[in-house]
């Protein structure tokens, strides 16, 4: 799948959930299964053994059980932002169903899609975003351009001057030797 064709989105939170108080975003979950088929066996075991623990632990989630003949077993979760997510649980053992249920419960209901950035902020800068004059002094305002001498390459001793210097020194040594 080439990058462009994969749907992508930015990180979003539902109603700033968790800042005031955390509200479990899953409001309703429905277990659809068949009474006879053996690929719903996992769901039936789950309902017998684990469902009551789940409902006691999470009273905020309404649980429905919907037996349907000769239909594949499925979990459908509905979320507060109006979306619903379904997971096919055919031939799934009950432990795996517990894990998938935990996954569904701890989601925010938003579609799981490639995130452009894995962080989001509404005011990215406290010191003010960079602009071309941030690191410049206001004296620039008064400067007259083209101001040539302060923008030259820092002057260093040129080679001719150094040669002249050496020449002068040699001559002095000769004079001092003579005298």
């Amino acid at each position: 799948m080439s990058g462009g064709s994969i749907p992508s989105n930015f990180l979003k939170n539902v109603l700033n959930n968790g800042i005031g108080r955390y509200v479990c975003q899953m409001k309703r979950v429905t277990f659809k299964f068949c009474k006879q088929r053996n690929d719903s066996q996992g769901t039936r075991d789950f309902i017998e053994n684990h469902l009551l623990d789940f409902t006691n632990a999470h009273p905020g989630v309404v649980v429905y059980i919907q037996p349907r003949n000769n239909r594949p077993s499925k979990i459908v979760a509905e979320y507060l932002n109006g979306r619903s997510e379904g997971i096919a649980t055919t031939k799934m053992p009950q432990e795996e169903i517990c894990q998938w249920l935990e996954h569904l419960r701890t989601r925010s209901g938003a579609e799981i899609v490639r995130l452009r950035k894995n962080h989001h902020t509404d005011n990215p800068s406290t010191q003010g975003v960079w602009h071309p004059f941030t690191n410049k002094d206001t004296s620039l305002n008064l400067a007259k351009f083209p101001d040539n001498d302060s923008y030259k390459v820092p002057s260093t001793v040129s080679t001719t001057d150094r040669l002249l210097e050496m020449g002068r020194k040699l001559r002095q040594e000769k004079l001092s030797e003579k005298s």
Binding site: S2, S5, P124, T126, V129, W130, N135
Partner: protein, 153 residues
């Protein structure tokens, strides 16, 4: 309606018996964002989609290189504005055990300029204390390096 459906079902399929429309659907799903006939006509679409798939094979590493290069350009620009050479800047951060990685440095340079400025000042001070001579006394953009400049003998 039932008769026509019966006829439509049994129309001959040229491609050796299997239904080509599934394959077309798959390519269409990969080309929803292309322009013009590349989005609609299958025979034109297939070329661009396969090119896109080929490109996506090496786009992973190409992306990394692009952002790495972009990061160095941005940090070089930010450092030179404060008169610090980028290599010396990184060395200073290492030696002073300042564990900020390059992406965070880049974000600081753009969104928190004063914090980045203090990092640069620290680097200048560090160069002065340890007599680190900045080889060329000018950054690539012409700003004077305010570290220690070795006088030309």
């Amino acid at each position: 309606m039932h008769l026509t459906r019966q006829v439509l079902r049994n129309l001959p399929t040229p491609y050796g018996g299997y239904d080509i429309s599934w394959k077309r659907q798959m390519y269409k799903r990969l080309a929803w964002h292309f322009f013009g006939r590349r989005r609609t006509c299958f025979r034109i679409q297939i070329r661009t989609v396969e090119r896109a798939l080929r490109n996506s094979t090496f786009s992973g590493s190409a992306r990394k290189e692009f952002f790495k290069e972009l990061n160095t350009t941005r940090l070089e620009a930010a450092c030179s504005e404060h008169g610090v050479i980028y290599k010396e800047f990184l060395k200073t951060l290492d030696e002073n055990d300042v564990q900020i990685n390059k992406t965070m440095l880049e974000k600081l340079a753009i969104y928190e300029p004063r914090t980045f400025q203090s990092l640069c000042d620290m680097s200048i001070q560090y160069q002065k204390d340890n007599e680190i001579y900045t080889k060329n006394s000018v950054t690539p953009y012409g700003e004077l390096t305010r570290g220690l400049q070795k006088p030309m003998l």
